[in-house]
């Protein structure tokens, strides 16, 4: 039982991280109808920027404090992500208004390649580490209930808390601020939003910046866990089944989808993996999402797709 709980918790933690990446997808899809394949590349890019700036800034300014270095690096990386968002909007998306979904999807794939190349050209292509002072040692919970207790890594718990906080902040931002209202209006109907004076271009820059922010947070957490390297942008592919499982248009869907996929993946690897020869983690999420979509084609919380002629 203890082992099962450990696996379950591990799954939930990983799932939370998937949701973080999935959030970026959902934000952009909701506001602009673009399925942003580049989210993974943005995570890598942001993490690279963060890792390198936290190395460079103390060097440039000549101080030692880790906290200050991380803080400044975070601000710098965020500024870079806003710049990236602005450039993407300016150079690519604003020229592709009213194109078909697949064209936009392809454009974001192109952006993916570009960002992967640019990130590694600017920031180097080694494995870097991000040290934001997260505790690495595990803790043992519920020792009185089970024999041996449940082993949980503190790092994972903090990561999950950060992810939860981010979700909370984002939902507050969407629900309570006037910019958030404008974003939701654009998501509902581009034309109507434009006609009441909401500037589409600015909204898109904001959305991509917010997605960049989500990417930065995800990048820092993943990066401090695994190290910042190219494979980080592949982790992001795992967020795709999360997004479609939860529904492309739903923020809570991204969270719950992430948790479901994380837990499903871990449990299946432990209990089903040995029967099938192991390593089924790489496809389980996709097949789970596929089977699920057969029952509910719009995902868990997606808007119902109504076909009209």
């Amino acid at each position: 039982m203890g082992f099962f709980l450990e696996t379950l918790l591990g799954g939930l933690m990983v799932g939370m991280l998937y949701s973080l990446i999935a959030l970026g997808f959902v934000l952009i899809y909701k506001a602009s109808g673009v399925f942003n394949f580049a989210q993974g590349a943005m995570v890598l890019f942001a993490a690279l920027a963060m890792a390198r700036f936290s190395e460079w800034i103390p060097h440039w300014l000549g101080f030692e404090s880790l906290l200050l270095a991380n803080l400044l690096a975070f601000i710098a990386a965020m500024a870079v992500m806003v710049l990236v968002a602005w450039l993407i909007e300016r150079l690519a998306l604003s020229k592709l208004v009213n194109q078909e979904h697949i064209t936009l999807l392809m454009a974001t794939l192109g952006i993916t390649y570009f960002l992967d190349g640019l990130g590694q050209t600017l920031f180097g292509n080694d494995i870097y580490k991000i040290d934001v002072g997260m505790p690495k040692d595990p803790v043992i919970l519920l020792e009185s209930t089970f024999e041996g207790g449940v082993l949980v890594s503190k790092e994972d718990m903090i990561a999950a808390l950060v992810a939860a906080a981010l979700v909370l902040v984002l939902s507050l931002f969407f629900q309570k601020t006037s910019t958030g209202r404008a974003l939701r209006a654009v998501a509902d109907d581009h034309q109507a939003a434009q006609s009441i004076g909401i500037p589409l271009n600015r909204i898109w820059v904001i959305v991509w910046s917010v997605a960049g922010f989500a990417a930065l947070v995800a990048g820092i957490i993943w990066g401090s866990k695994l190290g910042v390297q190219f494979s980080l942008s592949l982790v992001a592919l795992k967020a795709l089944p999360v997004v479609i499982l939860g529904g492309l248009t739903s923020v809570p869907g991204a969270i719950i989808g992430g948790l479901l996929i994380g837990v499903g993946e871990k449990l299946s690897e432990i209990y089903l993996g040995p029967l099938l020869g192991g390593g089924i983690e790489i496809w389980f999420a996709y097949v789970l999402a596929l089977v699920f979509l057969l029952v509910r084609p719009q995902g868990l919380f997606g808007e119902k797709i109504i076909d009209r002629v």
């Binding site: 697949i102 064209t103 794939l109 192109g110 993916t112 979509l293 057969l294 084609p297 995902g299 076909d307």
Partner: protein
Amino acid sequence: MLYRENGQFKSSYRADQQIFPILQDRVAILALLVFAFVAMPFASEYWLRAIVTPFLILSLAALGLNILVGYCGQISLGTGAFMAVGAYAAYNFHVRIDGMPLLASLLLGGLCATAVGVLFGIPSLRIKGLYLAVATLAAQFFTDWAFLRIPFFTNNSTSGSVSVAGLQVFGLPVETPAQKYLLCLTLVVVFALLAKNLTRSAIGREWMAMRDMDVAAAVIGIRPVYAKLTAFAVSSFIVGVAGALWGFIHLGAWEPAAFSIDRSFQLLFMVIIGGLGSIMGSFFGAAFIVLLPIFLNQMPGWFGLSISTALASHLEFMIFGALIVFFLIVEPHGLARLWSTFKEKLRLWPFPH
């Protein structure tokens, strides 16, 4: 003046419905084919091995994908998977059955890919658009895993990679780059012709109706199940044969990484850049994507610059990505549209009226 249909009267339905209605087109295609079959095999080995043969095989795969994405409107990110199925199935037929002719194993590989394609196509009846695109990723990751982990598919090879040697077709050896090239060329020409005719037939029109608006198509009596699944079947058959060729002819020895998700993206790029819903476009797109990295690699040398290989590969990524975005902005309908615009212009040239 040189390129127009004036004076070419059609006196039968056959003549009216031929693929290339203009005489000049027919002559040009014939000249191209003669050049490809007669002159091209004498090109240098490097050209045949590293550029022309991969181009032909990838065009075939792009052609298959174009039937699914361009004609039937079902986005697939799992093309690499169907190529892998074709390659590994053909390998198993080739190795396990003594005296299996090469062409038969290639085609049987294609048939296995068809079966898998139809299986993964079934969700398309309920899932549409981007949801389907992500769902097809399931095929990609599942086959990646299956060919890596299940020893049966690799004939219990210990290293996980498989290889073929001593290929022959009808008693003729397929060893030198020129022979390999000719085999690929023949298959590509046959499949391109078949595909072109399929898309001109009733079933091709059903696919296009499905693509343009599936509900409306169903209302006028087109069966969505039949139309979508045949598109998946035909597409994955061609892709499977291309995969088998890629493994057998181009690589010789391969492992699942040869058919990874990057391959799927690459093929999708070819189809988009070449032109959705155009047989010719598949060839243009393949040529573009195959030649671009070679060109980008050579370019610094021409200007006397030397850059490190790591930087070069990153720059290549950047230029590649930027060019794709650029193309989508400038000509979202692909190179095939540019080509047809060019032909329209040529019809009036040099007298604009």
